[in-house]
Every structure is written in C-alpha cells, then in structure tokens.
Symmetry: C2
Subunit: 160 residues, 2 copies
Amino acid sequence: MSSVTPGDARARRRLTNEIKGDLRELRNQLAMLNRQVGARLELNDVDMDCLDLISRHGPLSPSAVARRAGLHPATMTGILDRLERAGWVARERDPADRRGVTVRALPDRAGEMYGLLAGMNSAMDDICAGYTDAELDVVAGFLSRAIEAGRGATEELAGS
Amino acid sequence: MSSVTPGDARARRRLTNEIKGDLRELRNQLAMLNRQVGARLELNDVDMDCLDLISRHGPLSPSAVARRAGLHPATMTGILDRLERAGWVARERDPADRRGVTVRALPDRAGEMYGLLAGMNSAMDDICAGYTDAELDVVAGFLSRAIEAGRGATEELAGS
DNA sequence: CCCGTACAATATGAGAATCGTATTACTTCA
DNA sequence: TGAAGTAATACGATTCTCATATTGTACGGG
C-alpha cells in the first residue's frame, strides 16, 4: 500500500463505491452459499455462524460466543444443544471455574463441511493463482482491514 | 492482474490460505454487523438478506427472490409480509401476467439503514483512501471474481 | 371457444427457533 | 460465613419456517 496518487477524483469515487457495493454483494452471496451448505448438513443458519466462530476462535464459553454473535445467551444454549447433538462441538466444564463451560469444535465432521465447500475452495485457489504475490498481499491486507472495520462498526452498534 | 511470478511456493500457499480464511471471517463479521443493524430496524436476519437482494437486483418476483435466497416460496410470503408492513418494499401486480407479483424496494426508509451503516461506510472510505488507483482496481477485480465464485459454488450445490 | 394442465402466490397448520425471565450452581469479596 | 454477582440453563410465550392445500391466472390442443 503506497501513497495515494491523485488521479481522477470522480473515477476514484466510483471505484470506492464499487468496492463497497461488491462487499455487500459478496456478503450476501456467501451467506447464500452458507445456507446451501447448512441445508446439506441439516444445520441452521445461525448454527453455522456459531460453529464457524468456535472453529476459528478456539475454545470459547457459551456466553462469549453469544456476545460475539450478537445473540441472547439462552438462544446459545439451544444452538449448542443442536451442535453438540449432531457431533460438531463438545461442551467441557471449565476446570478453573466450575460454573463455566468451554465449547470446542470437534474435528470429526469437519471433513463433511470441507467437502461441500470444495468447489468454492478450488475456485478461490484458481482466482488467487492469477495474481502476483504483491497483488495477493494487497488483497490480503484489504481483507484484514475490512474485517477490522466490520468489527469496529459492529461493536459501535452493539455498545450503544 | 499480471502473470504469476514464481516466488516461494510455500509462502504463496500460505498467502492463498490466509485470503480464504479472511474471506470466511469477513463473511462472519459482516453477518454480525448485519444482525446488529437488523436488530435496530426490527428486521429479521433473513429479511435483511432479502431486502438487500431486492434493493440491489431491482424489482423481482417473490419466487425469484426465494430462489436466489434459497428459501421456500411460502417462507418468502411471510418475509414480504413483514417487509411490506414495515414499509421497506411494495408489492405490485405484474401487468403482463396477473398471477405474478413484482416486489420493489421503497426509498423511504433506506436512509435509516444508511445511517446505521454510516460507520462502516466511512471506515471503508478511509481504507480505500489509503490505496492507489491501481491497487483498488486489483481489489475490485478480486471481489468481483470472488462473488462470481460464490455464485457458481452456490448454484452447484443448489442444483444437485 | 373451452377445457385440462401448468404455474404464481398465498392461506393454513404443525413443528421448530428465539428470547425474556426464573432457576441452579458456583465464585468472590466483605 | 453470608451477600452479591456471574455462568449456564430450564421454561413458556411469541414468532418463524416450511410442507401442503387453495385460489386465481395463463396457455396450448381439441
């Protein structure tokens, strides 16, 4: 990311708006992909989101997942019940604080989901293969920043 | 997008995987942002998705929205009832085929949602402002391709 | 022209999910 | 020790989803 070239301000504005629109469209498209995958696995929409959170951000307490996902703690109990019954996660009592529970993603069924996402996965590999290392760096940096912006905006709304 | 530089294959693989992970995380984060916005507007999660589809892809028939969103047509009736009651969309009879209905997004309440997304919006403006035109082109291209990949993967799952 | 078939949207009812509140179990601090 | 606070969950009322049935409309063949 080098310094900004002045360029044509109008064209630049258009480009920025295009990117913001694309981001919204991408979110929607990926949500639909998720819904299809979830349907195959008999997983609820929200359940997938939570499973994703648990898989990515390590063992978490139910309330931590609820906070991150913006859901009511009581709702989380139901979600975890379903995920646990279907063998996606395990609940373990926190040895340090016996009120607490930590939820851990189990590797067993992960392959099933991976299989359903294989098409998307290889499509993304193909796309990435068409870029130079430097370009991929730009994209990766952009995505990280966008995630961070999303987190910030979410917290701002959640906190007020 | 120029031709690929050989570079270090291992580092490249790592970079590609990072991007794929970021994409999943971004989806999740934006889903949470959406949930917060939806909560403020008393809009359901799915309702937001459908409203987004209708806003972006012009007037659509209920069944077309249902197909795109991967939802049952009867579910769509309920969703549109809620959206219509709250003044987000309008149903109009299709003059060409009187069995049909077309759903159109109304501009009235769009500003409310825009306001809630203002934080995210300006954060993205800031992020984009830090890139050169050429870099933004790379990002925009990448996003378009990723959307297309998502669409393809979704259709593949939906069709089978 | 009319009838049978096909299609779009919606009504209806059964099952499931969500969330506010109450409850139980445990910790922490006075 | 006991009072207050916290984590998770049980429970019930409300809401949502979806399979099926129904209504209204189009269209092609006789």
